[in-house]
Point group: C2
Chain length 416, copies 2
């Protein structure tokens, strides 16, 4: 590789500008982004992204679940493209970087290669995966999961949001139910750039996280059925209070995660009382839980201990508790050769780095089940993510995109 190429750097200001220009689609008053998947705001950013890809000379196509692909030809079109990208949807009160850095970082890699007139041997394909966040439709990362065959496309299209709108209807409403069959766009490998969403890189003063593993995930839908009755005239010992039951389950879950930690986290993220009233004892509550570990044995222990605790609490409070495991994703172990490639790129560029486990789930974890995949992390401020206060520096974002670019160059090869 020539010295000009080995020294090639992405355009930090252009990447930073793209991140902040698209942050206006769903911008919140507190500086974050609310861009739920397949919403009107998501359509706005998708339209922007499509134009940017076309302007960069990419061949854009959209698959039946709305995932967007932009192909840059290589010299040898018999080779599969190297895939890079992430997602552009956000949490209900999310930040400007989660997913967005990886997608616009991929775009920036293409723009930089174009400017430098570099042709790669294998093609490169950038991707924006539909519904990574999972906050409007469950499960999260549904499009990449369908891509790898974990769900059928029909199943995913029929999933409903809280208002009863299906994925199919949402795709049609913004004009992003594409013509390409899911899975048609193949990759030789996939690299995803992302903010860490945790506190480790920042605490250790490292610029690049070379992600070698990802936590497995357990998602539960739960329901408690107690008994609604009058808050003034029902003696305490006769109550079958759904909210007190929920409270005990939430605290039991925390205790289990602390006991099995540090390689375990668990969260009750949603809880909705049915027909709430301030002078009625809550009779029914629906809730969700999210539990993670990068160790499959710990995941099994969480499931076992959680079910035992819920059963004991239900019996004590004379209420009915049901726990449905709606999603179980095993821990991810990224492809060793790709992880090495990321590490080599970081070393060659002189960035401080360390191997790291991803606390969050990512599309790359799904893709890793059928192709070599890996990830590049950069620090985020105070480890905060899924929050309007999510922040990262321009220097770190650029460093991540540089590592992404040089990993891609190593994998795709430069046409001589």
């Amino acid at each position: 590789m020539s010295r000009a190429i080995s020294n090639l750097q992405i355009d930090s200001a252009r990447l930073w500008g793209a991140i902040h220009e698209t942050a206006k689609f769903g911008a919140t008053a507190k500086g974050g982004v609310r861009r739920l998947t397949l919403s009107q705001e998501d359509k706005q950013v998708r339209d922007w992204f499509r134009r940017a890809c076309e302007d960069a000379g990419l061949e854009v196509h959209v698959d039946a679940l709305g995932s967007m692909f932009g192909l840059r030809k290589g010299r040898d079109m018999s080779k599969l493209p190297v895939g890079i990208g992430s997602h552009l949807d956000t949490q209900p009160t999310g930040g400007k970087y989660d997913g967005i850095l990886g997608t616009l970082g991929a775009l920036e890699v293409i723009r930089t290669l174009n400017d430098a007139g570099i042709e790669t041997d294998a093609p490169i394909c950038i991707a924006n995966w539909t519904n990574e966040e999972g906050s409007r439709f469950a499960p999260a990362m549904m499009a990449s999961a369908a891509y790898v065959g974990d769900f059928t496309v029909e199943d995913i299209l029929s999933r409903k949001d809280a208002d009863g709108v299906t994925v199919a209807e949402a795709l049609d409403s913004i004009g992003y139910r594409g013509a390409t069959k899911v899975g048609t766009q193949k990759f030789s490998s996939f690299i995803e750039l992302h903010i860490e969403q945790g506190p480790i890189l920042e605490a250790e003063g490292k610029t690049i996280g070379v992600v070698d593993s990802g936590q497995g995930v357990l998602w539960y839908d739960g329901k408690i059925i107690g008994f609604e009755s009058h808050a003034g005239s029902t003696p305490m010992p006769l109550r079958r209070d759904a909210l007190l039951t929920l409270s005990e389950i939430a605290l039991a879950l925390e205790k289990i995660a602390l006991k099995l930690g540090p390689n375990a986290v668990a969260t009750m993220g949603e809880a909705v009382i049915k027909n709430p009233s301030r002078n009625v004892i809550p009779g029914e509550i629906g809730f969700t839980m999210d539990c993670r570990s990068s160790d499959a044995a710990i995941m099994d222990a969480i499931d076992r201990e959680l079910r035992a605790a819920a059963a004991e609490i239900a019996a004590k409070r004379k209420v009915e508790v049901t726990l449905d495991l709606v999603w179980r994703k095993p821990p991810t172990h990224f492809d060793p050769k790709l992880v090495d490639a990321v590490e080599n790129a970081a070393s060659a560029l002189g960035y401080s780095h360390r191997r790291i486990t991803s606390g969050a789930g990512h599309d790359a974890c799904n893709l890793n089940t059928i192709m070599p995949a890996a990830m590049v992390f950069v620090p985020c401020k105070d480890g905060i993510s899924h929050n309007e206060l999510e922040d990262a520096t321009q220097v770190d974002c650029a460093a991540g995109a540089n590592v992404l670019m040089h990993t891609v160059l190593a994998l795709a090869g430069v046409a001589s």
Copy 2:
């Protein structure tokens, strides 16, 4: 009093028919009633009630907060009327008897006196008080509270429901903002018939509860501000989880009520996570609490211990907890002469009875602060109320209405 009058009985089948006829306004699939105050369903039952009052020869007028009054003339119109009645609104998933028995029981008393051709010395006025339940607009019993001067009418008219609709707008939307100034309709005394909403009469096999006191009430609006962050990548010890904080407060409240009981109950009835998502640690929760005792010293102890517990939990979890006492109603001690009158009527009719404390708040508790008031309770099945399963027998409802009628006859006097 003549033997014909002392033996007079209300028409049990007619009362039962009225209860079940009006239950269609807001009927739920499970046999309950959803008739939130000032809703279209409330308008339907109000229209029915107005016509029934007019058919019974009553002079109907509506005050500026929508409370409805039906006046039956007495021989001596210089005397203030004896008031009877209750309310026709229900909880979001309420029953067919709470409030309704007392209002339609009052109507049945008038119909029976009409049929028997009995003129009373003092007039009788039946009432349907607006928003007793408080589940759409806070506080509960707002119309009778404004009637006795606890709130200004302007204040109550400006209260908003969860959708931002004011009481004034809701009254106008169903045409029940009446011309009568609140407080114009005076009473010499007020008797309210109601289901017990608790398990005591049924458990002891008593037909009539002679209500001599009512619990005081503390209503709190609470807010917890923790920190939203990623459920997968935020280590357990670094979390500031609003839902775990809520859980500890809910369980602390239960513990306080149990410790100070049996003359104390406490309930967290509402809790809403802001921007909930299954993979985001809850950052903010609003909640409400309802605490009651018939002993003012116990009410003070609940307030003190609750605030101490909330402060300790907030400090431990590094979150902010605010508790606003939005309503404090002192315990009620009903007028001893009126309580005796109810007891005498129950005895004369041969019904088994006992003195009892009301666990729930009632409009009669408000009225008791400016005039002699009392209440008559009848059993309800399993003590269940504020629930679609709320039930009572025709025989017990009729017994309650008979006690109401004979108490009224004793207070109003029969014209000779």
